[in-house]
Symmetry: C2
Subunit: 426 residues, 2 copies
């Protein structure tokens, strides 16, 4: 009854190495439970030292992608190289040769999913990417095969480990952004060039994938409104705490009728919301469906072992499925006809304004908000030698109205400055 | 490309009605996403009024299970009758006739899974029961198809909505057990005879199913150590709070090597643990795997709509899968050879002792613990007119050593009484 399934791994870095480790360490376990004798027949990586450091024999190193694509014994190829090229070319080649591909590459999937899926269909192969979003957390499988009954109304996630680590350090230990980033870099949680994480690109790639699945239409990542965490100060975090909030970089996808909102930005999360407790390198996705109501999926968002767990889960899945599954929407890279991306979303807002400490200032600011239909829930004013610091918490307002208010406030008096604007989850 | 799939629903109560509602309300949505035209062709229920209250036409009511089993057009049958009989007989009949069955019936699955699975295999049909555990939370799909790479080390869940509602009311509003139960009953969260929930039977059925899947061996529910919440007092909850704990009815499954522990009992959960925030009718399962590390699945544990969501997810799954999936272990109702159920587990413990307020009492109690290898972490003593109340928090200790200590303490002096014993999650 047992069958042998030969696997190739392209890219033996941290995650590729972790995948190799699971397939070898848990080989007998997978054989016992699934009747599949998984063998890593070939790997592709130029760094021989790194390959050998994982105990992979030199004889398994392929000369190039063609050696893998043309190997009739190999039926599943894992891609853990990262980046767009040459990963894209390699994946297309092996898909067209009829081998299923399992990838952890969110940038590639979010940028070239239609091309890859077309190649998969042409080759009669499967394309699986559970590991591309939220590490070991099986959110993609859940969206595809557990929430079918539901219209997903919203999906709110902490889906980038680096920024969550930095913000947690700033919140829990009072660190500055710069110091927290430095610590994250020294521990390997942030890259030397941290832009992709701290500016929200990584989260926008993942949100693009997750919202496409949740809302059944392509949502290209370019449509995701994106704001990073580099402007977050200790003062913002302190103000949030005083008002009962914890700051998180949230990825938010919402669908209401034919309007879809997708955005990544720092957000004040109410301290008693389940997402508020998601700290450090943990990630979570909070989903609301019309029948299932609220769900949360929580776990390690990165790391060789959790990401490897998601990859091997896809490998087993691909080995057991006789028919691959594809997107349940037209995967052509375009937003489906009739669907609009709502750029002018609504939210509650926290704004901190520095202004001259003079009579009438609060009245003037309040007047600007009122004129623009922004209703204020709470005001906190502190005087000081350098002027006043006034914080506003708004009721739900329109993004455009708030932006217009900000522009008008800064025009009102040269000394006025909107120091912070943080959206608030409600 | 579209195909029609005819479905029958046996038992049109709350959950069966919710299932019907999803299949009709979201009919076009399921057709658009999955290319499947689901039709509820027949229902089985003697209560015509109830059937009609869901807008089901009288013409759809079957005369008996045979009419459903012999209907060649029907390929999937949903069972939402509850209880063991006649559900068991009905399910076997339709499985043998080659129709896949989707059920929410945890009592039936935990008691007769091997028989039902044998019938499914014989009929070439699938048996799906996502809805039997933790309502709309896709924990069964996750254990079966997302965590394959992992040895599951532990699974800790709040998996009974009724008891979580009662304990939450006692904790958050200071209610007594009796009052909280009464409120739960008046809201329909607890049954008139609440035994199955408050004594932990329901949780033990679900734990039996979940641990069997997680540990890849049958774990009959009779092996689950079970303790309910009827003895929990306001004093226990208050003491927990002082020590930084929230009380929850936990279902705990652990596997270490060839030893499996399965138990359901009230437990002090550290206030900063993700499970501590799972309140009211929400449920959650916390899973630890050797590669994925910690994961949590959170959502509505009961109710027509969330449970209906899980059922319809299984219905879609059954309609799309050409080959049904079965257990990946020998499903013969017996614990696999070589595996032992560890009855003498280890835990931290909270014990509250009432004793005469006399010199030497604390020393005597401490002596009993020491003699039995139970090491004490914290002691709290309060004197009073009626005697002393002494609370102990232990380090990790053996269940048998703690039980022996309790017996010896009560033998030491007729006036000594161990008023509470609560295990502590660590």
């Amino acid at each position: 009854m047992n069958k042998t399934v030969n696997v190739a791994i392209m890219g033996i870095g941290t995650v590729g190495g972790g995948t190799y480790e699971i397939l070898t360490q848990n080989h007998d376990y997978l054989l016992a439970n699934h009747g599949i004798d998984f063998r890593v027949k070939k790997v592709l990586d130029k760094n021989l030292e790194r390959v050998k450091s994982f105990g992979i024999p030199e004889s398994a190193v392929a000369s190039g992608v063609d050696e893998i694509a043309s190997d009739k014994d190999i039926s599943i190829v894992v891609e853990t190289m990262g980046g767009v090229e040459p990963a894209k070319t390699f994946i297309e080649k092996v898909l067209l040769s009829g081998k299923s591909v399992v990838t952890a590459n969110k940038e590639l999937v979010s940028k070239h999913w239609p091309t890859l899926e077309a190649a998969a269909k042409k080759g009669g192969a499967g394309l699986y990417f559970e590991a591309s979003c939220v590490g070991g957390v099986p959110i993609i499988r859940a969206l595809r095969e557990s929430l079918q009954a539901n219209h997903v109304n919203s999906l709110v996630g902490i889906i980038n480990g680096t920024t969550n680590y930095i913000l947690s350090k700033m919140t829990e230990e009072g660190m500055s952004y710069a110091d927290a980033l430095k610590e994250a870099q020294s521990l390997g949680y942030a890259e030397f060039n941290p832009t992709a994480d701290v500016e929200g690109f990584d989260a926008s790639y993942k949100l693009s994938i997750l919202s496409s699945l949740a809302f059944h239409t392509c949502i290209p990542f370019q449509h995701v409104y994106r704001e990073g965490i580099t402007g977050i100060t200790k003062a913002d975090i302190k103000a949030g705490k005083e008002l009962g909030y914890v700051i998180k970089l949230l990825a938010i996808g919402k669908r209401s009728g034919d309007t879809v909102e997708v955005r990544v930005h720092p957000t004040f999360v109410p301290a008693d919301h389940p997402l508020a407790g998601v700290s450090g390198s943990f990630n979570a996705v909070y989903v609301n469906g019309d029948f299932v109501d609220d769900l949360m999926f929580y776990g390690r968002g990165a790391g060789a072992r959790p990401t490897g767990s998601a990859i091997v889960s896809d490998v087993v899945y691909a080995a057991e499925r006789t028919e691959p599954i594809y997107s349940d929407f037209e995967n052509d890279g375009k937003i489906a006809a009739g669907i609009t991306i709502g750029k002018d979303f609504t939210s509650k807002y926290y704004l901190s304004v520095s202004a001259p400490d003079a009579p009438g200032v609060l009245a003037a600011l309040a007047g600007v908000f009122a004129k623009n239909n922004v209703s204020i829930e709470t005001v906190l004013q502190r005087g000081g030698s350098g002027g006043a610091s006034i914080s506003f918490l708004t009721h739900t307002a329109q993004e455009s109205d708030v932006r217009r208010s900000v522009a008008e406030i800064e025009k009102l008096d040269d000394a006025n400055k909107v120091v912070s604007l943080v959206r608030v989850l409600s």
